[in-house]
Amino acid sequence: MSFDITLGYSKSPKIQLTKEIVEIATYTGTLKEETSLIDPVVLVYVDLLSEVRKSNYMIIPQFGRKYFITNITVVRDNLVAFECHVDVLSTYEDSIRNQTGIVKRSEQTNMQNLYLNDGFFKVYQNPHVIEYEFPLGFTEYEFVLAMAGS
């Protein structure tokens, strides 16, 4: 069984849904042996080894999935085995975006509530000490003589 693969290089963090992929080459791959779609090992005859060794991402349209390349093994001349693991975030990106949940933490300003105390702030040992004086006070001094009788 052979299928088309696109080798690329992901410039994005692994946890990002939409990844920025720099395409390196397109090849035809085969499965090394009976393998899962989650962690496949794909055999590819490559034209230029120096070209593909920089890849860390693979798209296999026939599998409907995008993969992180977890290891690259040179089997023999120009035959390379790519060990992959599915990138579920990018593969199912559209479906994930439609999910609803309770957000625990967010970078987005209008999704934040800093009055919730989950201990995210670290503080220095020396606090700020601020004084605020009231604008008025006791300014006059007078005698009071209390005498018996009217």
Binding site: L17, V86, T100, E107, H128, P135, E142, F143
Partner: protein, 566 residues
């Protein structure tokens, strides 16, 4: 082991029916509407005294009374079983429920009369077990008789006269009609009104039945087991909550401005006059007192010591409301010195307001991270709750009694009184030697209390003019807590700051640059991920509608919980 008698038990009885003839005496089924109830569990040990009065209970069909020796079977009960008790020797289960058996404990002069008592414990629909005891005996011919506690609330009585009843005795032959009584009840055939019975009135019947029931008793060995379960259902968890009003408007008190000072004062009584002299006027009065015009003998005709008429001279830090000029009189004698008199005993002093804005705009602005203290003139430093004052307007107002020097500091939070502290703002000016002694003693008392606090805290404090500093020290959460002052009053207050001020300790945040892009800030808001951007961490989500394998679904959920970038 304890014996329980069913004293004070008051059953409500209801005449069900006049049963089939019992010889020439009618048999009446009585339903105890509030029947005698006790529960026997398999762990109980029970001793049942065989007393003659049990014989009113239900008589089972087919027991061996017909062949009992010596005449009627209940004679045995009366003569032989009385005062004997029988411990439970075994328990077992049967179709009727728990069966408790008492065996071979009866020694009789008669021939080998062994008796067995069994108590059946069939639960009814309400979960209660109700029992009635009936007899049977075991004869030496090998037949087994039983005392049986039946689950029923009916029993049979018979009429013995117009105003008395007699329950069926053990051994009395019965017409096997008891079950029929239940049937009558169930079929609705039972008469519902006791007036249908020509023999008894309802009250007479009830009284008689109660009399019989109250003579019953039973003996439990060891501690009786709880009737149902130890808490009787109390304390079982239930659904609740969610019924709050969420109405946080409350009914707060007004602020100091809305407080109306008393409209009566000591100056209005005629016993006291409050003068507001200038320094020059005081000197005039002093000159008069030490002049030849001040004839001591004249005054001694009025009071023993003319200085008793001088109640006090104080320095107060307030403007005294003027009520016009008046000659100072010592008793009935004018001094020729005129001074303004105070129109009121009470004075209000406003210290203004301070807006306590939030400093970090986060939970760090509140307790226990932020601490707020307030210095109040003539009172000292007091602690306020950051939770209550941060983000609010604080207003301080004093109400002063110029006669005693007592002052009350109101602290209004957003125009509502929330803190009230009392102090002393009058500095006494000695006129006689006693005044001087009191003044010094007052200062030493204030200073002494502060010194005590310092020793207790392990750190010495400097005391000056009644102002105590650095009194007590304690270590909380790794931080040293220092009391900033003791009580400040009188002359000490005169030398201390005259305006209130706040001392706020706010955490100094250590925040890495762009921290929110790496780990976000707390949210706890429900949202569709599509509407979010940047770093996102999900607290809870039920992942659905994704055509992925189970393993992939788990990984998606795990990643959302640990954080993704949208």
């Amino acid at each position: 082991m304890a014996t329980y008698q069913l004293t004070n038990y008051q059953a409500t009885v209801k005449l069900l029916d006049v049963g089939p003839p019992f010889g020439e005496i009618p048999v009446i089924a009585v339903k105890i509407l509030d029947p005698w109830i006790y529960t026997i569990t398999t762990s109980d040990s029970i001793q049942i005294p065989l007393e003659a009065q049990y014989n009113f209970l239900r008589v089972t069909a087919g027991y061996p009374c017909a062949v009992s020796p010596g005449g009627k079977y209940n004679d045995y009960i009366a003569s032989e079983f009385s005062s004997y008790t029988y411990p439970v020797t075994s328990t077992s289960r049967s179709e009727k429920g728990t069966e408790i058996e008492v065996r071979d404990t009866y020694a009789s002069s008669r021939d080998a009369l062994d008796f067995t008592i069994r108590m059946y414990d069939p639960p009814d629909s309400t979960g209660n077990a109700k029992y009635q005891l009936v007899n049977a005996g075991n004869r030496n011919d090998g037949r087994v008789g039983v005392f049986v506690v039946y689950h029923t609330d009916n029993f049979m009585i018979r009429c013995t006269g117009n105003n008395s009843i007699d329950c069926l005795h053990v051994g009395d032959p019965t017409p096997n009609s008891f079950d029929l009584c239940d049937n009558y009840k169930n079929s609705g055939l039972a008469v519902s009104d006791v007036s249908a019975c020509s023999v008894y009135s309802q009250s007479a019947l009830t009284k008689s039945v109660n009399s019989l029931i109250n003579s019953m008793y039973y003996t439990m060995r060891d501690t009786p087991a709880p009737s149902v379960e130890p808490y009787g259902g109390a304390g079982d968890s239930e659904a609740g909550g969610g019924d709050g009003t969420f109405d946080y408007s409350g009914n707060p008190p007004g602020d100091a401005g809305s407080f109306v000072l008393p409209n009566i004062s000591a100056a209005d009584t005629g016993f006291v006059t409050l003068y507001n002299p200038t320094m020059a006027q005081l000197k005039q009065l002093s000159n008069y007192l030490w002049s030849s015009s001040f004839d001591l003998n004249t005054f001694k005709k009025i009071v023993n010591d003319p200085m008793d008429l001088f109640l006090g001279l104080s320095i107060l830090p307030v403007l005294i409301p003027s009520g016009g000029m008046k000659e100072v009189g010592v008793g009935l004698v004018g001094t020729g010195v005129y001074m303004p008199v105070a129109s009121s005993q009470w004075v209000k002093v406003s210290c203004g307001s301070v807006d306590m804005s939030r400093l970090t705009g986060s939970y760090l602005d509140y307790d226990p991270y932020t601490t707020v203290e307030i210095y109040l003139p003539y009172i000292g430093v007091r602690t306020l709750k950051a939770d209550e004052v941060i983000g609010k307007k604080l207003t301080v107002t004093y109400n002063v009694d110029i006669l005693s020097g007592a002052c009350i500091a109101w602290i209004d939070i957003n125009y509502h009184c929330m803190y009230v502290y009392m102090g002393q703002c009058a500095t006494s000016v000695p006129i006689v030697s006693g005044d001087w002694t009191n003044l010094i003693n007052g200062i030493l008392n204030v200073a002494g209390s502060a010194i005590g606090g310092a020793v207790k805290g392990g750190v010495g404090g400097a005391i000056a003019g009644g102002v105590a500093a650095a009194a007590s020290v304690a270590v909380n959460d790794g931080k040293i807590s220092v009391e900033r002052s003791g009580n400040i009053s009188s002359a000490g207050g005169l030398l201390a700051p005259k305006r209130p001020f706040l001392i706020v300790s706010s955490p100094r945040i250590c925040k890495p640059k762009n921290q929110h892009t790496f780990e976000g800030y707390p949210s706890y808001i429900t949202a569709v991920i599509e509407n979010c951007s940047g770093y996102l961490q999900i607290e809870v989500a039920h992942i659905k509608n994704i055509r992925a394998t189970d393993e992939e679904m788990d990984e998606i959920k795990s990643l959302l919980l640990s954080g993704v970038i949208v």
